[in-house]
């Protein structure tokens, strides 16, 4: 079972990894976007770190709902509403449970993914965070009988999804303005989503 404390460690790990990757994400975004993805995500996750001490004792739903609302109110850009919606849906799926089983975990991530698609209206191959999240959630669901290996498979699937769309032309967000010139550039949103699944794996494995 996964406790609220475990999830809190996941968010801490995600915040630390985003902070470490701030320059890299901003660099990727300069090439095909508007050079703010690392800065914005770091601002949002730094705010989450301040929030965590007060939420660790409660339920997992509240932890993720508060995380989602805080991201929507601090990040701005497209990533604020998208990551915010992801965590809000995850929180709604977990409800008032303080311990989450593997099946509920996978269902929560599925709900989060559906929220991202509903808000951003991106599909596969549009070259966005969705291209990392779709295969990652599918891998999580497929291997959920063995949680550690499912988490590992999800992180690997996210990275593969991120790399698979690098040669493609972006169809959503500011990268789409580049047309053919976006091909060959790694997508910053798919990159931060890969970091999210790597953080989940590493945080839950450590527990």
């Amino acid at each position: 079972m996964i406790s609220t404390g475990d999830f809190s460690r996941f968010l801490e790990t995600f915040a630390a990894r985003i902070h470490a990757a701030k320059e890299e994400l901003t660099e990727l975004d300069s090439a095909i976007g508007d050079a703010d993805h690392g800065i914005n995500m770091d601002r949002g996750m730094t705010a989450i770190l301040e929030l965590l001490p007060g939420l660790q004792g409660g339920d997992a739903g509240t932890l993720f709902k508060q995380t989602g609302m805080k991201l929507i109110s601090t990040v701005g850009g497209a990533s604020g509403p998208l990551y915010g919606t992801f965590f809000l849906r995850l929180g709604t799926a977990f409800g008032t449970a303080t311990e989450i089983g593997p099946t509920e975990l996978a269902a929560g991530f599925r709900a989060g993914l559906e929220g991202v698609i509903a808000r951003g209206k991106a599909g596969l191959d549009d070259k966005t965070m969705v291209d990392a999240m779709v295969p990652a959630v599918a891998a999580l669901e497929a291997g959920i009988a063995d949680l550690p290996s499912a988490l590992d498979a999800a992180a690997i699937a996210a990275a593969e999804g991120r790399d698979r769309v690098t040669p493609l032309v972006a169809h959503k967000g500011r990268a789409s303005y580049l047309g053919e010139r976006s091909a060959g550039h790694q997508d910053p949103g798919a990159t931060s989503t890969t970091i999210l699944f790597e953080s989940l794996r590493d945080a839950l494995r450590a527990g």
Binding site: S30, G173, Y177
Partner: protein
């Protein structure tokens, strides 16, 4: 990076404090970082708000005041504001007649305004939204985020703000804003990049003998990179695609807006305006009104954008109506 700032983190807050100190007769600045017309809300008047990333000054905060915007929501530099700003602005300007959101077509702006509109409607405030997407440099297709909102936004805010000031209802004001969107087209170019303060280095590299045609207002690349040309040829490259849109014909009256990107001297904008006038006159199009200056900028980027709006009597009347804001003032 060489900038006249204290720290990147404090730049937007300090600029807002400066605006509040400079224009207490026109605006007030409130939490969470919104610029509100001093006498808002005005009972029975439709509220008109806009917002977007900072770094485009004077847009949008410089357009808050009589006859234009009731409030503006500035985000971090080049980053959409967050929904709680638009919600707070919507409430601050709601005089009971509803509120129009003028939204530039960027993925982040659309999503954040959408969330704010849902929240405001849940609180019982009537909200309408119009998306400005006038940049002809971007192909409007299923395979892009659609055209960007650029120079046409300034003209929409002026015209729509005048109609709201004159007492038009939300439905009328919304239809008018859509009419501006349907009749306005823009295209821009850059000679140099800009530097987002928090990033600390230029958004793109461009050599001294190159220019970017079709640039956006955030340093997003445009249609193509090519060798620098004389001003007249550059103006041709921008005006031609606008005229090919099929909106402007011989005999039409237009508003011609030649806009500096932030780092362009006015003398160069007039060199460009001279050529715009020559091209349009040659096509039998009359420039009935014009606006020359830096009103929608991209930090310190050098370059310009050209916007044409087809005018009719209604648009002309609202353009000429009194306006009193930090950045645009006439008729009062």
């Amino acid at each position: 990076m060489k900038k006249l700032i204290n720290t990147p983190e404090r730049e937007v807050d300090e600029a807002l404090a400066g605006m509040a100190a400079a224009h207490p007769d026109l605006i007030r600045v409130e939490e969470p970082n919104i610029i509100v017309r001093k006498d808002a809300p005005r009972k029975g008047k439709v509220g008109v708000i806009s917002g977007g990333g900072s770094g485009h000054e004077p847009m949008h905060g410089g357009f808050v005041g009589l006859g234009m915007l009731d409030a503006a929501c500035p985000g971090a530099v080049f980053t959409s504001p967050v929904p709680e700003q638009m919600l707070a602005a919507t409430k601050a300007v709601n005089g009971g007649a509803g509120v129009l959101h003028i939204v530039k077509n960027y993925t982040g702006d659309i999503m954040n305004f959408e969330i704010a509109a849902e929240m405001a409607q849940a609180e019982g405030i009537e909200v309408a939204s119009v998306v400005i997407a006038d940049d002809v440099a971007v192909k409007d297709s299923l395979y892009t985020a659609g055209r960007r909102g650029v120079g046409g936004t300034v003209l929409a805010e002026k015209i729509v703000g005048a109609a709201a000031e004159a007492g038009a209802d939300l439905k009328t004001v919304t239809a008018l804003c859509q009419k501006v969107q349907d009749n306005v087209r823009s295209m821009g170019m850059a000679l140099t990049s800009c530097t987002v303060p928090a990033a600390g280095k230029p958004t793109f590299d461009i050599s001294d003998d190159e220019m970017e045609i079709g640039i956006g207002i955030h340093g997003e690349p445009g249609r193509r990179r090519e060798a620098l040309k004389p001003a007249d040829e550059i103006v041709e490259m921008l005006v031609t695609p606008i005229l090919e849109e099929g909106i402007f014909a011989s005999g039409d009256r237009v508003l011609a807006f030649v806009n500096g990107m932030g780092g362009t001297p006015l003398i160069e904008l007039y060199v460009a305006y001279r050529k715009v006038n020559e091209i349009l006159t040659g096509r039998g199009i009359t420039i009935a009104r014009n606006l020359v200056g830096s009103y929608i900028t991209s930090l310190e980027m050098a370059g310009l954008s050209i916007t044409l709006l087809k005018l009719d009597d209604e648009l002309l009347r609202y353009w000429d109506a009194p306006v009193k804001t930090p950045a645009l003032r006439w008729g009062v």
